[in-house]
């Protein structure tokens, strides 16, 4: 007999509202339904009511964890529209902020993952050391979260020369922290036993579900926007893209840990460039012409995509955002089904879902009439799930 276990929408383990329905038979998860919409704020529509500079702050508030990813992709899109090349110094500062954010986000995930499997020590540790990253960000931008560093054509704040040694020192200190986590996760037999072979996402499924970011890279799909389509300073910098093959939760954790080392390498190289490069940090922009722009950024969770359409006024006519969790969450359908209930929580968490990012869309027709509101969208998503279920059954 099928039983339904609801998780959420308000659940102490989750820091944001989301609702999972696990259909279980005995101990085994036979199906899963994900209901979202608790976070929908209509950012894409709001963006059309704000002028270009304000949109940078609006997209920052799509998501708190990746609060630099969205502005990053947005300014990339705007600069693509303008055909603009930002000064080298601005590029390096952008890259530094982006990579610091990756470290803080991965630490945050590691903590939550530890919490999910009952290792509260890992949780407390990683959140403790996450504070150090927040300190660096505060030093650079003045804010622990929501750094507001980005603007179209450059950055809003410079990293002064006398601050660089200190930032460098703090970053070097982080290496020891990551070493510790590497040891705690990779050499611990209990974590290995608990995570290896759990929630496997095969390479084939990863490609079919179009997953991105660490979720894809843990399944052997070698994609990374930073390397494949370099922007900001990534083209001038040496770093490795971490790819592992097994696709289980353990590999997803390892990918994230190893990525943090790469991030520190990138930051150090950027700081070296900053030491000698003394240029402007922004180009002033007075006019946004008619046109379209695409921007991408490799966020901690995968590729963020922004599309901007301008009609020559001071506001975008269309702003489309696609966040990485949008693809990654759907892959739970294959990763979590067939697991035991006890493994489900960590499997669901392993893609590092971010619903704040995922839920903005509303579908409009040509005359701006809303044809789908949130409940229609739910219906739509339910139908889609039903379709998927049918397809899955047929395949069997």
């Amino acid at each position: 007999m099928k039983k339904i276990i609801p998780i959420g929408p308000y659940h102490p383990l989750q820091d944001e509202p989301e609702f999972f329905k696990l259909y279980v038979e005995g101990e085994n998860v036979v199906d899963i339904d994900i209901e979202i919409g608790y976070n929908h704020r209509g950012v894409e529509k709001l963006s059309e009511t704000k002028h270009y500079d304000q949109v940078t702050f609006l997209v920052e508030r799509i998501c708190g964890i990746c609060s630099t990813s969205h502005p990053f992709a947005y300014v990339n899109a705007m600069e693509n529209l303008l055909g603009l090349e930002v000064p080298l110094r601005a590029k390096c500062i952008r890259t530094i902020v982006g990579e610091l954010e990756r470290i803080h986000s991965h630490l945050l995930w590691l903590g939550l993952a530890g919490h999910f499997i009952g290792y509260n020590t890992v949780w407390m540790w990683s959140w403790k050391y996450r504070e150090n990253v927040c300190d660096i960000l505060e030093l650079i931008s003045g804010n622990r979260q929501h750094y507001s560093m980005f603007k179209i054509g450059g950055v809003r704040k410079d990293i002064p020369q006398d601050l660089i040694p200190e930032v460098e020192k703090l970053c070097t200190n982080l290496v020891a922290v990551i070493d510790m986590f590497k040891g705690a996760v990779m050499d611990d037999p209990v974590i290995q036993a608990r995570l290896k072979g759990v929630g496997v996402l095969t390479k084939e499924d990863a490609i079919n579900y179009c997953v991105v970011g660490p979720t894809a890279r843990a399944s052997g799909v070698d994609i990374d926007v930073r390397r494949d389509d370099p922007y900001a300073a990534y083209g001038m910098i040496k770093f490795n893209v971490i790819v592992l093959q097994n696709g289980d939760v353990f590999d997803k954790a390892v990918v994230r840990i190893l990525e943090m080392y790469e991030s520190i390498k990138i930051i150090q190289q950027c700081l070296d460039i900053l030491k000698t490069e003394k240029g402007e940090i922004e180009i002033k922009i007075h006019f946004i012409p008619k046109g379209e722009g695409l921007g991408r950024h490799e966020a901690p969770r995968g590729e963020v995509f922004h599309f901007i359409k301008s009609d020559g006024s001071n506001r975008p006519v269309r702003h489309k955002i696609r966040a990485p969790s949008y693809m990654n969450v759907a892959s739970n359908k294959v990763a979590a089904v067939g697991q035991t209930v006890s493994d489900a929580a960590i499997t669901l968490a392993a893609v590092d879902p971010c619903y704040c990012c995922t839920e903005r869309a509303v579908i409009l027709d040509r005359n701006d009439n809303i044809i789908y509101r949130y409940n229609d969208l739910i219906k739509l998503s339910q139908q889609k799930t039903e379709g998927l279920i049918k397809k899955l059954v047929k395949q069997k």
Binding site: P9, Y10, H11, P12, D15, E16, P17, G37, Y38, N39, H40, R41, G42, V43, K45, L46, T49, F57, L58, R61, I62, C63, G64, I65, S67, L108, W123, M124, W127, K128, E131, R144, Q145, H146, C354, C356, E359, V362, I370, R373, Y374
Partner: protein
């Protein structure tokens, strides 16, 4: 009544209800409970059910999907249960005021006892807010 008040002030248990936040306020709430700030030393603990909670921390702007649930949630709480709005969003909706999916403010739905503004408020601000609430209750 005296004894309830006395025990309440020694150990406020909080539950956190994200309405539709950007996540940062929630992270800062959790941050306040982790080693650097360690709210637990004041007896403040995060609990999993509203039935155990003395304080409901609300973050984010209500939207059409969840705005009715906030009142429903509060109705299930053992009284007294205090409501604290964390972040600019729950104080006055901030930049999401004009969103088509945001029907009202948090304080249109329930009575809010304390507001902690900031986007996001620092963990220190959250601690200060809770301390102010405790002092006001005394």
């Amino acid at each position: 009544m005296e004894i309830i008040k006395k025990s309440l002030l020694k150990s406020l248990w909080v539950m956190h209800a994200p309405m539709s936040p950007c996540n940062n306020c929630d992270i800062e709430i959790l941050d306040a409970l982790t080693p650097r700030y360690d709210l637990e030393r004041f007896g403040i603990q995060l609990v999993g059910s509203i039935r155990h909670a003395d304080v409901l921390l609300v973050s984010g702007v209500p939207n059409y999907k969840n705005y009715k649930k906030l009142k429903y949630l509060l109705d299930q709480a053992a009284k007294p249960c205090f409501v604290v709005g964390v972040g600019t969003c729950s104080c006055g909706r901030g930049m999401f005021k004009d969103s088509y999916n945001s029907p009202c403010n948090v304080d249109d739905l329930v009575k809010v006892d304390a507001y902690i503004p900031g986007c996001p408020p620092r963990p220190e601000a959250i601690i200060a807010g809770v301390v102010k609430l405790i002092n006001a209750l005394k």
